[in-house]
């Protein structure tokens, strides 16, 4: 399969790029941060996301979506990375949508997918419980009752958790901590009794929450997929979300790299443009290679997921690990090469560094995924 975008995908990229550069540049993130905006993203922008069809990119056409795949979702994510746009796209349109598509009954899909595509409803996936991503370590309890289950436990780093209408929660209905078996997925109304949501302001000024479930009652029809057998769906959905995060990291890295190369051509010291110094030229050229090589891995992972290929999960781990590493290098080089200006809040480079750190951690950092890779290769 060709590793470059098709004509249609290129058109989608161009339209996403123009739209986001116009409606949601880094300036908007700064305003949301400085005004301590309660929503944390622009509802107006989110409405336009839906009108452009973005929020339904992965939703089948029968439910009003575009019915496209992860290459297309990635194209949008990459442009989000360029502009650091705040929106529930990753949490709702990718993570939640893929979970529902993977395990939802026709009834559940009918109830939720069209409303997610239209953007009127926001959903998110609640997985992590500790500060590091370890999805098999889920300890939140789901105890059987006469009519369903009682949920008890705490979830953290829940994307857009403070604005979500719907929480897709992974809890342990049986088995020991560390066991992939015994995990069940539930669709929980964010306003249900016993759900306590604390918005956690993060370094990147994007949206996340810590959510406590105290004896939250759910019925059997709120179970997504089969009881005790939620791991396959959770893994598949996490892989989609990881691939999307990798695409955002790639877009972000590409943007800071371009800005840095431009700066090297403008900034003068010692009577010459600093881009003339070989010490900087070689570092810029190395970063260029890293970015190009990461780009190949990311599009390959997107295609593998779309093709439902064997070993797609391994490819996703490789894409997320490499994108995390490349973006980390890109933002560090960007700050260093911008000198004192790169350290100021007035300059935008710092926003990219902060976002890269969050995305690196999200759904498993490079160390987590290298470990996954080694395990899958039997060492």
């Amino acid at each position: 399969m060709s590793l470059i975008l098709t004509e249609e995908q290129t058109m989608l990229r161009d339209s996403a790029r123009d739209f986001l550069a116009d409606k949601a540049p880094v300036m908007q993130l700064r305003q949301l941060r400085d005004s301590k905006d309660a929503t944390g993203f622009s509802p107006d922008l989110w409405k336009q996301f839906a009108e452009m069809g973005f929020s339904g990119v992965l939703v089948p056409e029968e439910f009003g979506g575009m019915g496209l795949g992860h290459v297309e979702a990635g194209v949008v994510m990459e442009q989000i990375g360029h502009q650091l746009t705040c929106s529930p796209f990753l949490a709702s349109s990718i993570a939640a949508v893929t979970t529902l598509r993977h395990a939802g009954t026709p009834e559940q899909q009918k109830t939720w997918l069209s409303r997610l595509a239209s953007g009127e409803l926001i959903a998110t996936l609640a997985v992590d419980e500790k500060s590091k991503h370890q999805p098999t370590q889920i300890s939140m309890r789901a105890d059987t009752t006469a009519s369903g289950f009682t949920l008890n436990g705490t979830k953290t780093f829940v994307l857009d958790g403070h604005v979500a209408d719907l929480l897709i929660v992974a809890a342990r209905s049986s088995g020991e901590i560390g066991d992939p078996k015994g995990i069940t997925l539930f669709v929980v109304d964010a306003k249900a009794s016993g759900v306590e949501i604390e918005r956690t302001l993060m370094v990147d000024a994007h949206n996340a929450a810590r959510i406590t479930f105290k004896a939250v009652q759910v019925s059997t029809k709120d179970v997504l997929g089969r009881v005790d057998a939620g791991w396959a769906t959770l893994s598949a959905a996490l892989d989609c979300a990881r691939t999307a995060a990798a695409a955002e990291l790639l877009g972000l890295a590409d943007e800071v790299f371009q800005r840095t190369v431009n700066y090297l051509k403008e900034r003068k010291q010692f009577g010459r443009t600093i881009g003339e110094f070989q010490g900087l030229q070689h570092r810029a050229a190395e970063l260029y290679c890293e970015l190009e090589i990461t780009r190949s891995m990311v599009i390959h992972a997107q295609q593998q997921i779309d093709a439902n290929a064997d070993g797609a999960s391994r490819t996703v781990s490789m894409a997320k690990a490499r994108a995390g590493r490349t973006a980390t290098l890109a933002v560090q080089e960007a700050v260093q090469m911008h000198g004192g200006m790169g350290m100021t809040d007035a300059f935008e480079i710092g926003f990219f560094m902060k976002r890269a750190r969050v995305l690196q951690e999200l759904f498993g950092d490079a160390n987590f995924h290298l470990d996954q890779l080694a395990r899958q290769h039997g060492y």
Binding site: T273, G275, Q281, I293, R322, L370, A374, Y379
Partner: protein
Amino acid sequence: MNQTIEISEFRNNTRAWLEANCPTQMRKAMTSDDDTCWGGRKWKFASDAQKLWLERMAERGWTVPTWPKEYGGGGLTGAEAKVLAQEMASLGCRPPVVSFGIWMLGPALLKFGTHEQKLEHLPKIARGEIRWCQGYSEPNAGSDLASLATRADDMGDHFIVNGQKIWTSYADECDWIFCLVRTDTAKKHTGISFVLFDMATPGASTRPIRLISGKSPFCETFFDNVRVEKRNLVGTLDAGWDVAKYLLMHERDIIGAIGEVSSTPSLSETAKSTVGLDALGRLSEFHLRSQIAEFELDEAAFRLTLQRVGDMAKASLAHPAMSSMLKYYGAELNKRRWELMASTGGSDALEWESKRSDQGQTARTWLRTKGNSIEGGTSEVQLNVIAKRILELPGA
């Protein structure tokens, strides 16, 4: 539609011909360097089958399928040549002959040579009769190749060449040399010419170079008043640098692909046997485990990049200097592979002259790969090219 029918007919005919004409012995996987046929006056065929296979393929022009028929080629279109390569691969046919003549001089002559030069040299390359070497680097002209000092003095109807070349691969086994010589000492890049001459000409001599890895194909080459006829000048006088640049791009693609070679033993498999696994099935040395995982990730990403740059080139989206990226990263990656291979092998990988180490294969390869980032343009030169041509940074 007609084209599709034609190509599928071509495929059927090609397969039938290969099945009938490729000796079974030439369909076995190559196991050592000796299985590669380089041709030339000094060549000793490893078997009758090797000789027969070369003759049969050369007769059809299929040793150089896309070259014009009048110059010994097969006159195939790109699509037909691809089919031929696919059918050869599916039957496991070995290449009938490989050479610098096919990879490098041929493309240069096709672009810059006169009709007479093409007629004289290309068919002999195609038939594997003349083996060529490349005279570029000199003791004082490595990365700064254009500072080369080997002189060709104009004697009216011929040149007299004096000087020394170094790193001339297989010079001691080759018949002719394509060589960069200085024809104008007052200028740098615009004072260089590209000439061809027979290595048997009086005054030309070679001496093999022994590398840190042991024996090597590299030689020093000396020219003491070597007579070169004027008709053997390729391109315009003093414009040999254009020919050289064109050729260097071919060389970088070849060396950049080194990182792609997969016949080497797997790092993780070697590590399993040398350091062992813990109770959870992980390599007992955790840091080595991480390094191997990182390497495998970067190797996979690099292979995909070779493919992606190919896809970009087909769609006319590739920057020509992306070959510098492939050369740079491929070379560094291969060095990393063998550094890890040495570390993974432990003391086994230190053995130099034992049968169980296959005469120090790991140690020698580890040492040899250190040259990957030097030959064909150093890593630093590739980074300069990327900075200047792709990133368009000033003054690079």
